[in-house]
Each structure stands twice: as structure tokens, then as C-alpha cells.
């Protein structure tokens, strides 16, 4: 028996024993990208831009499919290091109080990647690659853990804004709607945990860390918010939707006032939390 057959067989047995969210979705054999909305029109990167009026509905629907593939890809690309980071913290010194929930968190993030990945691989044949690169750096005591969980909150708050609205959008393709619903149901708990943990870690350390460290954290997280949003404007999705001038589209979409308002609105809860706690000292330039 080949390794491929073995993994298929073992996956079937595991799926039978442990009912996973991915198995609660009715997956069609194939989908036609231009046949439905896969991203809510008002949440697409072309909302409020000249492309919204210049492109016909079929093309916009097709783009909505690739915007969904990009949204699911960036979630996978965000959840991979998250799983890695959570794993590293399991049974680590000083993390005992988090242990019971870390197991659930880790388990649920893995399950998210299953349904995001299945959509991407089954219907587009790929997951868009992660273009973020981490540089090795040094941290003061407690800073690495704090930044890890603070970035998780930022990433998940933004994604959850999309999840909530898209789970409720009756015009969305049923698979896309269900994926957003399933993700939101878990993320709501992850965010409650994440916000509380970030707050506690910051309260513990803010009087210990130097002004320079605190300023560095604020600058870093403000830049991270902008970088997180940039991923939503992936030129590859415009190209895959058959649109030329993908970089011009990205630039116009990013600079469009309506899109800036969308980013501010979608990030407002997150920004308010980080401002109120004093973790960031100004609004990000979204």
C-alpha cells in the first residue's frame, strides 16, 4: 500500500472517530468561480474603487472567488506560525495557567486550516504563498510572548470582522458562508482569551520594561496592523481573476478612500483595545 493510500485511509478513520468542522460542510465536487459571490461585494478590495463600476458582474464574482482564496490563504499562513507558537508554549515554564485552554486553541486552529485548505486546494488548486519574512531579533524578558499574543489578537480581530459579516450574508455561496461561520464561532473564544492574556501580560511588564521597549512595541504593532492589511490586497488574486495590471489595481485599491474607511472600520475594535490599554500610543496609518 502506498503512503498516499495509507494517509487517505488513516484520515478516513480519524474523521470517523473525531467529527471535525470540515466534515460538517457540504462540499460540492467543483465550483464555478463566476457563478456566485464567494466574498461579500462590500468587503471586496475593489469596493468603492473605479473597478467596482468598470468590471462586469461576472468578473467581479470571479474576483470574489480569488479574494476568498486569498482570505483563506492568509488565514492558513497566519495559523501555521500560530500553531507553531502555541506548540512551543505547551508545558513551557510559566505557562501552566494557560495550559488547559492552549490545548483547545491549538486543536481548533488546526481544524481551521483543514477547511480553509480544503476550499483552496479543491477549487483553486493552491494556497497563496506567505510573503512575510521574520528577522531574527532579541527581546527583553517577556516581550516575545507578549508580541506573539498581541499579533494573534490583531490578526484574528481583523479576520473576524470579515467572518461575522460574511457568515450573515445570504448572497454568499453556501460553502463560503459556512466557512466564515465556523471560523467565527471559534475565533470569538480565541479573542476573549487573547485580549485578556495580552492585557495581563502588559500589566505585568509595563512598569518593568523601559520607555524604549514600550515605544518599540507600539511602533512594531502599528506596523504589524498595516502589514496585516496589505495581505488582503494580493496582486495574485487580480491576476488569477484574469485582470491585467494587477499591481496598479493593488495600489489603487489600497489608496482608495472607501477602502481606507473599510480598514479603519474593520480594525476599530482592535485599535480601541490597544489604545485603551496603552499598548499603542497612536492610531495606525491605515
Amino acid at each position: 500500500m502506498s503512503l498516499k493510500n495509507v494517509t487517505q485511509r488513516l484520515s478516513q478513520v480519524s474523521a470517523k472517530i473525531h467529527k471535525a468542522p470540515v466534515d460538517t460542510i457540504e462540499w460540492p465536487e467543483s465550483v464555478e468561480p463566476s457563478s456566485a459571490w464567494f466574498t461579500s461585494p462590500k468587503l471586496m478590495t475593489i469596493a468603492g474603487t473605479s473597478f467596482e463600476t468598470s468590471l462586469n458582474e461576472q468578473t467581479r464574482r470571479r474576483l470574489s472567488f480569488f479574494e476568498a482564496v486569498n482570505f483563506y490563504s492568509l488565514n492558513i499562513n497566519g495559523e501555521k506560525p500560530l500553531v507553531e507558537g502555541l506548540n512551543k508554549r505547551l508545558y513551557a515554564k510559566g505557562q501552566a495557567r494557560l495550559l488547559p485552554y492552549l490545548h483547545h486553541f491549538l486543536d481548533e486552529e488546526n481544524k481551521h486550516m483543514q477547511f480553509f485548505g480544503r476550499f483552496c486546494m479543491s477549487y483553486s488548486g493552491k494556497v497563496y504563498k506567505d510573503k512575510k519574512i521574520s528577522f531574527p531579533r532579541t527581546y527583553v524578558e517577556g516581550e516575545e510572548d507578549f508580541l506573539f499574543f498581541a499579533k494573534v489578537v490583531i490578526f484574528e480581530e481583523i479576520a473576524d470582522y470579515f467572518n461575522i459579516l460574511q457568515a450573515a450574508d445570504e448572497n454568499l455561496h453556501p460553502v463560503a458562508r459556512k466557512i466564515n461561520l465556523l471560523h467565527h464561532q471559534d475565533e470569538a473564544r480565541h479573542l476573549t482569551f487573547g485580549r485578556q492574556l495580552v492585557l495581563e501580560l502588559f500589566e505585568e511588564k509595563k512598569t518593568v520594561w523601559s520607555t524604549e521597549t514600550l515605544q518599540g512595541i507600539s511602533i512594531y504593532l502599528l506596523s504589524y496592523m498595516v502589514a496585516t492589511w496589505k495581505e488582503y490586497y494580493n496582486p495574485e488574486m487580480y491576476r488569477d481573476a484574469g485582470l491585467s495590471d494587477s499591481y496598479e489595481m493593488m495600489t489603487e485599491a489600497w489608496n482608495c478612500e472607501a477602502q481606507k474607511n473599510l480598514r479603519r472600520e474593520a480594525s476599530s475594535k482592535c485599535i480601541r483595545f490597544f489604545l485603551d490599554t496603552g499598548i499603542i500610543t497612536e492610531e495606525p496609518d491605515l
Partner: protein, 80 residues
């Protein structure tokens, strides 16, 4: 686009991202990462910019901070 044009565009992007730093001496061999002229959170933006000015196709999974050490390194790795 000539190599000088590409390098000039790369320099312009870096200068634009560091408005409070005096970069009049920025050269093709200035260490960009160690001098924090490009930070990890700017990398996605920088990669998108490189692609928009005609960088060769590359696999993001193979990239390391060293791939972006200097303007010369970036040119050699992504445009030559």
C-alpha cells in the same frame, strides 16, 4: 529597465520608508537589515514593490533576511 534604474527605485522606496533618517550616504552596499532600514514588518510591502517593478519570479519560502542584505544583494537575487 537598467540595473541603475532598478537600484534607484529600490533606494527611493527605502528612503521613503525612513523619512526621519539621513540617507544621503545610502549606497548599493549599505547594510539594510543590520541598520534597520528595512524591518520584518515592511518585508511584505517591499516584496510587493519589487514584484511591481519587475522582479524575477521567486519562491517566498526560500527567502531569508540575507536575501535583502544590501541593494546589490537584492539586485543580484531578484533582478539579475
Amino acid at each position: 529597465m537598467s540595473d541603475q534604474d532598478v537600484k534607484a527605485k529600490l533606494k527611493k522606496w527605502i528612503i521613503g520608508k525612513n523619512p526621519t533618517t539621513d540617507l544621503s550616504a545610502l549606497s548599493d552596499s549599505t547594510p539594510l537589515i543590520t541598520q534597520k532600514l528595512i524591518t520584518s514588518v515592511q518585508m511584505l510591502d517591499f516584496i510587493l514593490f519589487m514584484e511591481s517593478i519587475g522582479a524575477n519570479e521567486f519562491d517566498p519560502e526560500t527567502l531569508t533576511p540575507q536575501s535583502f542584505a544590501t541593494i546589490d544583494t537584492i539586485y543580484q537575487n531578484f533582478f539579475a
